[in-house]
Amino acid sequence: MISSGQRKLALLLIFATFLVALLGCPLLGSTSISFSKVFQSWPPLPENRDAQIFFQVRLARNLLAALTGAAMAVAGVIFQAVLRNPLACPFTLGIAGGSSFGAVAAIGLGLTAGFSGISMITLFAFAGALLSIGMVYSLASLIRSFSATTLLLAGVGINYFFSALVLLFYFTADFSQSFAMMHWLMGSLDVVDFASVGGVTIVFTGSFLILFSLSRELNLLSAGEELARVKGVPTVQVILLSVFTASFLTSSVVALTGPIAFVGLIVPHICRLLLGNDHRGLLIGSALGGSTFLMLCDTLCRSLFGTTELPVGVLTALVGVPVLLVLLFKRRTYVQS
């Protein structure tokens, strides 16, 4: 059992790490730049090479990494709480499958042209994600049950369905298309501009406020729908609102970056160990922790092999899994299946 003092300290440390990563990560990469030179003059002069790299190349990408990590981790916390399942993640309702299907379809059909600054792949991926949520919702309403188990099973089913369609497109694609598909499926933060960062910021802020306002309901729901109801929670409404807010948030991010694995599963668990399971602290901690984790992973991916980039989804899994296992072995009692 962690005392509330220790929890506050942990939250403070996570916040400090977040700030360091937010400003420090853009300094690192295949070309190293110095912090003092970046902020030599304000506004930065056009001939200041370090400032150019900092602001025009790396800052937007770092911000996208921060937002993506935060979104995934927050959505992960929500799905775990509402579905009462430690294995639930932002993709449990079939969003990974749906968005992958959308993106792969766009690539396979040769729709690469943009539409007012947003690529067709992004639009299709977003539509695919919404389609999968819609299908899960329809399935649940068809059998008139919005319980955790129904949503979980429907989500897993839909995900497999879309995965099969992805494989079908992949099978019929030519060489360059299949490379583009694979690249998208692995998840990457490299195609980004400030406009999409702005869009994601708005979606994230709105979603986070809604979800944070449901903190107490989420505590109760994670103890069971029956208990939540007798303590005054309109369970169906809260389940639907939180699940669909988290899904929408995930969809918006995944449409840009592709399904980045494990952040939404591992970061919430690490935060649960450090901060406890009360959602008031957990949601804030997971948002900060998720963004820090992804900023660091992305920076490593950019810098490890010179000019060649490692797909960030590969690294998140490689780094995240051992970290989680170590923590689990240190505190074995924290999750009861």
């Binding site: 306002s213 005054g232 009861q336």
Partner: protein, 275 residues
Amino acid sequence: MKLGDPMSLFEIQNLSFRYPAHCSFELHPTNLSIEKGELVGLLGPNGGGKSTLLKLMTGLLSPQTGQIHFENRLLKTIPVRDRARKMAYVPQSLHFTFPLSVWEVVEMGRHPHLGRFEPLGMKDKRVCERALDLCDARSFKDRLYDELSGGEKQRVLLASALAQTPQVLLLDEPTLSLDLSHQILLFEIIQKLHREEGLTVVVATHELNLAARYLDRLVLMKAGKILADGPVTKVLTPRTIQVLHGVHVVPVRIAGETPYFIPGKPRKQKKVQTS
């Protein structure tokens, strides 16, 4: 009291319920009224309909026919939040996928009283502390709920219910998995809550002797029907227990008015019917 009397707290009329699909249990049309300030036990064998009736009274289940009025309002028209301020339900057991501390579990009881962004105030904390005190659970408030013993868990669930500052307390087999000393402790707490805090209490239980000793009124239930309803001394007799449990019991009077019932050898049947 008569039907629709303004003092009636729960007015249950013609209530029936059936679980969906393959389940043979059925609550047959039931009438029951519970007044403010009563201490009632729903007594009967497993599968008799005690828990079902209790869940219908909390609104966790919806009846197929009939209706429940709570404080003269149709129960299903009362928003869950308003219900939770007036009545608290203590489940048989509770399992957390992600463990919470005892204090966090008790804090949950304040939910129906707090606004959306309102943090727990000093008043709420005092209510929670008092709830812990009443249930003799203050000493382990910082431990994890899942690490407690069965008796401690039940008291925490009860404290969490009390944190709702309800007028009615509905308990579903609170002593099911407890040893004798904890069963007695729990019933003593329930009695104290009724006497000193003025709570209306409805307990589903199959503990004959504890129910007889601590409760005022008993509703005997078997196979989804109410067999008898009234004061303990009138309702609980060797004959009704024979019907209820199919067990022959012998009443033993030690002190006071309520006898203890201990299982004895069945008497030889006096009349062997011949045809």
